[in-house]
Symmetry: C2
Subunit: 353 residues, 2 copies
Amino acid sequence: MEVPMPNIQPHADNAIVWHDEHLYLLDQRILPLQTEFIRLNTGDEVANAIRDMVVRGAPAIGITAAFGVVIAARSVWEKEGAGWKEAMAADLTTLAASRPTAVNLFWALERMQKVIAGLGAENPTPRLLAEAQAIHREDIAANRRLGDLGADLIAGPTSVITHCNAGALATGGYGTALGVIRSAFAAGKIKQVYADETRPWLQGSRLTAWELNQDEIPVTLLIDGAAASLMARGGIGWIIVGSDRIAANGDVANKIGTYGLAVAAKYHGVKVMVAAPTSTVDMSVATGADIPIEERAAAEVLGCGGKQLGTPGVDAWNPVFDVTPASMVDAIVTERGVVHRPNAEKMANLMTG
Amino acid sequence: MEVPMPNIQPHADNAIVWHDEHLYLLDQRILPLQTEFIRLNTGDEVANAIRDMVVRGAPAIGITAAFGVVIAARSVWEKEGAGWKEAMAADLTTLAASRPTAVNLFWALERMQKVIAGLGAENPTPRLLAEAQAIHREDIAANRRLGDLGADLIAGPTSVITHCNAGALATGGYGTALGVIRSAFAAGKIKQVYADETRPWLQGSRLTAWELNQDEIPVTLLIDGAAASLMARGGIGWIIVGSDRIAANGDVANKIGTYGLAVAAKYHGVKVMVAAPTSTVDMSVATGADIPIEERAAAEVLGCGGKQLGTPGVDAWNPVFDVTPASMVDAIVTERGVVHRPNAEKMANLMTG
C-alpha cells in the first residue's frame, strides 16, 4: 500500500523528521528553490541519502544514520526474526561507509550498536527508535546550550563570517555555528552575517542564506575568495564555523575553505570560533593529520548546480574538508563548555571532566 | 549586405581579430563549451561587449577599446565628414565608461586620442587602425618579453597556482601570468599548474583550463577556497597572477580572491609574482586605495552559469577586484623589467627609466 507523503512544514529546524513510522529528509540538494521531503524505506536508502548529500552536516548525518539503523533493524527483524542481529551487520557496514570524515556518523552508529548489544530476540524497533530519537533530541539541546555559550563570547555588536552551513539543516535543529549566531543575534550582538557561498555545493548560498532569511537575520553572501578582502575592510569580529571532526589536540576538520579563512582571520586579527557538540570530538585521532579527508569527483568542481561549465576533461582536486590547526582557533564551543585556545590537555579535560 | 562570418580558428591566441575591416571577438562568456565569434559594428557595441564581458582581462579590454575607436571614427566620418572629431566624443565617453578598474582601457583610449588630436579632416580610419593594430602587436610582444623574464625567476621544477585568467584570452595573445607559465613550462620549470576556478565567472575553470589544455600544459582545477590547503601541503613555488591596475607604489588590483591568495602565500612561504605590461601601471594613483573597484550585481553571486541557485532575494557583496599590497608581492614582471619587492621608488624607476 502506498503511504501518502505527510504535510511537513519545510523549515530548517524540521529537516529530519520521524513521522508515522517513517523517516523523512528535506532534500538539501535542491534547497532552497525546491522544498521536497524524501521518504527512506531501507538502510541502503539511508546510506545513499547520506552519500548523495540529501542530508549533510556532521550532526545531521549522525542522527540520520541512527534512524537508518532503526529502519534496517525493523526490516531484518520482520524477515529474520530472532536472527536479526547477524542479518543486519551488512546494513551497519553500509551506513558506516556512507561518508568518511564526519565522526558523528561513527559515534551515532556506536551508540546504536551498544543498544543492539543489549537486546535479545525481541522486536528491536521500540528500543532502537527511542535511542535514535534521544540522539536527535540531545543534539538539539546541545546546540541550544552551545549556542548560548558561544554568544557569550561575542563582546558587542559586530559582524561575523560563516562558511558552509552549520545550521539547523546540518544538525538535529537549531544549528551549531548558526545556533551561536541565532543566540547572539537575539542578544543584539550581531549586526550582519556574511555567508561564504561555499563552492562547490553552495551550502552558504543555498542553505545558510535560506535559514538566516527564515529567521530574519541580515545576511550578505560573498564568494569564498572575497572573505579575506572583507576582513581587510574591518568590522568583522569573528569567523564562526562548525566542524565535521575535532581531533584530540583541538585540530578542526571542517568544510574546505575553513583553513584559508582561518589563515586570513589570524592575519587580520579576527577571532575564530568553532561551534560543535562533543559528539564531533574524536579523542581517538591525535591530530588533524589523522582525520580521513573525503575527496569527491572532479565533476563537482567542473560544474555548478549539476550543469557542466568548466573545460571538459580537465582534472580537479576536490577535497571536501580541510584541517585548521588548533593554534589558529580561539575557541571551541561545545555543550559541555568552551575550550579557549585548544590543545590536547584542555580537550582531554573537556571530554573527561 | 550581410557580411558572412569568416572562418576564424577559435584559439586563445586568436580572440581579438581584425578581419576584412571588421572586429571579431571570441565570446568569452560561453567558452569553452561554445566557441563563437561576435562581430562588432559600432562603438556602442564594442562598449557593451566590454561591459558584458564578451571580452575581459585588462590588456584585452584596452586593445578592444582601441579597435572600438577605429569603428566609431569610421562611422562618424562617413556620416559627418570633416566634423567627425566632435561627433565622436560621445563614443569615447561610452567606451571609457564600459568598465572602471582596468587602467589599460584608459591608457589605450588616451593613445587613440593622441592620434585623433594629430588628425585633420581626412579619413581617420587608416591612421587609427594602424595605432590600434600597433597597440595589439605591442601587447603580444610585451607578453612574450615579460613571459621570459618571469620564467627566469622560477628556480626549478615546481608547481604554481594561478587565479582567474591572465592568459592569451585576457591580452592581445600569449598572456601575462599564463605567458610566464608558458615560457617556464617550455623551459622545464613547471610541473603542474593549479588553476583557481575563480567565482563568480569561473574564468579559471572555463578559460585558463581551456588555454592550458590547448597548450598541453598539465592543469588541475580547484575551488578558490581550497588554495590555502593546497599551499599547506607543500610543493607550490609561486602564485602567478595578472593585474588590472598597478598603483604607483606597487599595490596590485586584480580579480577578487587574489588578496586572499597572497595572504595565504605569505603565511606558507610561497612567492607571489604579478605579470603585467607597463600599460597596466597607473602612476596617477598613489596607492591601491585610490583604485576604483567595480562592484557588479548580486545575481552573479546568487547564480552560476546564468542559473539561479542561491536563496532568492538575498543580498550579495560582489566586488570584481581586490587590492594586494605591494609588501606582499615578491616581483612585478613587466616587459621593461622585473621589480623585486616593489615600492614607489622602484616603480618610478621602472616607468621613467
